[in-house]
């Protein structure tokens, strides 16, 4: 019994390891990809996201938009390209997004201080 358990545990470790490597690769790839372009859509309450391909030609990402609070206005990307911030007309505060693989935005639920150091820098 004990042996069986330890074996599955080992396998789980391997799987976890593979998943970590895959994530790291995806993040590294996103850092090297062509720039991404983000547009706030004030009246539809969304942020459009694009990939700038060869020649700077834009192509919509999938999904083409992510939800934003009502009436998003200004948008800015952090210098490390890992975060996007959106200011809103109707609410105080700023919405913050993580830039995932391929430039896709996902709304950040947790406060930024938990991840001030990019995970990829430390293995």
């Amino acid at each position: 019994m004990f042996r069986l358990h330890s074996r599955t545990g080992h396998r789980r470790h391997l799987l976890l390891g593979a998943a970590t490597v895959a994530t790291l690769l995806a993040v590294a790839a996103s850092a090297q990809a062509a720039p991404f372009v983000y547009v706030t859509n004030e009246l539809s309450g969304t942020v459009s996201q694009f990939n700038a391909r060869a020649g700077g030609l834009l192509a919509p990402l999938v999904p083409a938009t992510v939800a934003a609070p009502t009436r998003p206005l200004g948008v800015a990307v952090s210098p490390d390209g890992q975060s996007v911030y959106v200011a809103n007309h109707d609410s105080t505060g700023v919405s913050q997004y993580d830039v995932g693989a391929g430039g896709r935005l996902s709304q950040r639920a947790r406060p930024r201080w938990r991840r001030t150091v990019p995970r990829t820098r430390w293995r």
Partner: protein
């Protein structure tokens, strides 16, 4: 610092020596020198003409060109920047758009993206894309526009991919994060520059 007419948007040149502000009400762009301690003083001339309701101003990464969206004259103004950071209109002074809003320049300086509202129900709201040609002049890419959501307000471009600043950043697998094929290539890049 007093400005002319209601001010809307501010941009700082890459060298940090000049600041440009759009004046919505009188259709101009104010230009300032940045002095010691970051204090602004007007350049001479203090303002240059823009279109009707200039909204957003953006400076190219090389600091040689400035672009301003004119929300009511439906154009994007393009300016040359001289050694003193002063603006002068390029030829042509404007390129056509439909109710432009935000503007952003790509980190390589080769593309400009402009939010474009549609006041015509038959045309979608969009982001317009321009090539930056010789002398920083804009010309529409093909396709010229891509659809966005309703009333695009602002545009942002992600920065250039990070590059290693020191050999130590290449070591212990660090080279992978910068997209190099090996640690040696990463270190060679650091030796060659350009430094970040």
């Amino acid at each position: 610092m007093a400005a002319d007419g209601a001010t809307d948007e501010v941009a700082v040149s890459p060298d940090g020596q000049s600041v440009y502000v759009t004046n919505i009400l009188n259709g101009s762009v104010s230009q300032y020198d940045v002095g010691a301690g970051g204090q602004l003083s007007p350049k001479s001339p203090a303002t240059v003409a823009a279109g009707v309701i200039p909204r957003v101003v953006a400076v190219s990464p090389d600091g040689q060109s400035v672009y301003v969206t004119n929300g009511v004259s439906d154009t994007v103004s393009q300016y040359d920047v001289d050694a003193g950071g002063r603006l002068s209109p390029k030829s042509p002074a404007t390129v056509a758009n439909r109710t432009p809003t935000g503007v952003a320049v790509s980190p390589d300086g080769k593309s400009v993206y402009v939010g474009t509202e549609s006041l015509n129900a038959n045309l979608p709201d969009a982001v317009s894309q321009y090539d930056v040609g010789a002398g920083g002049k804009l010309s529409p890419k093909s396709p010229a526009e891509l659809e966005t959501g309703i009333q695009p307000y602002d545009v942002a471009v992600s920065p250039a991919a990070p590059v290693p600043a020191s050999k130590s950043q290449c070591k212990h697998g660090g080279w992978k994060q910068f997209g190099f094929k090996s640690q040696g290539r990463c270190i060679a890049f650091v030796h060659r520059g350009p430094r970040h």
